[in-house]
């Protein structure tokens, strides 16, 4: 714990994340500080319980939600990136070194150090991005002198050289006149209508009973949006668990074939564990939080 106090001031100086703090057996303090300690080799990443950190983060986000502050998208995004990096870091630390082909590379640098570097790399680009933003703002304060060619001087000039042929000229027109799409965060998924896994389960059962065996592709042929595909996949996992079907996949990433081995008729228990009581928003977020492998 003395380590943490030693770094406290630095973190406060940073003062940008602030909000989310973690409470672990061997560490207690702001998330940002946890990163600093790991990147400075003052805390061993394998000793950090990532699942605990994640649980805490989800609790933190929920708490924000309930307090009426709503989602802090910036914090959530940053957390995900950093958590993914930590996970990578930890995985590389725990996995046998056979994962890396070149032994010389490993001798050169420990996997742990590499991934520290990756973490640092991410942070470095983040900081540099801030300087980009400052530079752009500074540049926008100056305006270039752009003046027309004086008619007297233009008269001296030989024939104009357009410099491109008609096709290239058309391509330039095409490019210049294409509407400039402003950068936006797509929000369509937030307002997606509720897809019900239980309902999709019933459709899947009906399909499989009539066809006996079909590919996942065929099973989802009528799906008009990705969430339906996801719901049907979850339904399949659930039905597999109850022993109603069999999966076959000859090669990795190849066609997934599903055969029905359950009852020919009658009610099949359909799980509703993926579905939530109808809530106005965040349905897809809830769904994503569920772990289908449980």
């Amino acid at each position: 714990m003395d380590l943490i106090e030693g770094n406290q001031i630095e973190t406060e100086g940073d003062g940008h994340t602030g909000g989310f703090a973690v409470h672990l057996e061997n560490f207690e303090g702001p998330f940002d500080l946890l990163l600093q300690l790991i990147s400075k080799h003052k805390l061993e990443v394998t000793e950090v319980a990532l699942s605990a950190v994640t649980d805490e983060f989800i609790a933190y986000i929920r708490q924000l939600e309930q307090s009426g502050e709503g989602w802090r998208l910036d914090q959530a995004t940053e957390f995900l990136v950093v958590a993914a990096t930590l996970l990578d870091l930890k995985a590389a630390k725990l996995l046998p070194s056979g994962e890396v082909e070149d032994e010389a590379d490993l001798a050169l640098l420990e996997a742990r150090d590499l991934l520290f570097a990756r973490l640092l790399q991410y942070r470095a680009f983040k900081e540099i991005a801030a300087t980009f933003s400052e530079r752009i703002a500074a540049t926008e304060k100056s305006f270039p002198r752009v003046v027309a060619l004086d008619p007297a001087l233009a008269a001296l000039l030989p024939e104009v050289l357009i410099g491109v042929g008609p096709e290239r000229f058309a391509a330039i027109a095409d490019r210049v006149m294409a509407p400039k799409t402003p950068p936006v965060v797509p929000v369509e998924h937030i307002h997606r209508p509720l897809i019900n896994v239980a309902d999709e389960s019933r459709k899947v059962i009906e399909f499989l009973r009539s066809h006996k065996s079909m590919s996942f592709r065929a099973l989802c042929a009528d799906a008009d949006e990705p969430m339906v595909v996801i719901a049907r996949f979850l339904a399949l996992l659930d039905l597999y668990r109850t022993g109603s079907l069999r999966f076959e996949q000859v090669i990795a990433l190849g066609e997934l074939q599903i055969s029905w081995i359950g009852t020919e008729s009658g009610e099949v228990a359909v799980s509703d564990e993926f579905d939530i009581a109808i809530a106005p928003l965040e349905d897809s977020d809830e769904l994503n939080n569920e772990d289908p492998n449980d």
């Binding site: 003046v147 060619l149 001296l156 024939e159 104009v160 357009i162 797509p186 369509e188 998924h189």
Partner: protein, 183 residues
Amino acid sequence: MTNSEIHRSIEAILMIVDEPVTETVLATILERPIEEVQAALSDLVSQYEDRGFQLRAINGGWRFYSHPDESAVVEKFVLDGQQARLTQAALETLAVIAYRQPVSRARVSAIRGVNVEAVMKTLINRGLIEEAGIEGESGATLYKTTSYFLERLGLNSLDDLPALAPYLPDLAALDEVLDSLTD
């Protein structure tokens, strides 16, 4: 050299304009009495005595010009350099006018996302575009390409301009949604 705030502001404005600016406009923008603006302008004129550029009042407006003493070198630059070739900015502006004619300067500006005043004047001075009447509602001057433009591009008529790819407005948006799903 006493270069006070009003001097600097006048220099900044006049450095980026193509059309001469009157003392009245300067006084309005700077929120200073016109006498002060006039005094500053006359200070600047004498400060530039030794320079390669001048501040001159023409038709009641002020603008920076190259010094007449340097006309030989300026002409050499225009003739010698890359000036026969159109700049990228000129080419892009010309492309918009060719495919949207007759079109107002404001419209071209909106499409290009930058001020096109100077570039369009250059295109006029080079004989590639010309005025084509007045837009009904706005009263804005419209522009079109000239027959010299067709000649230089090696075309017989505007009908020979290659057709633009039909633009599918929803495609980009659709792509982004798809991308967000594969995250």
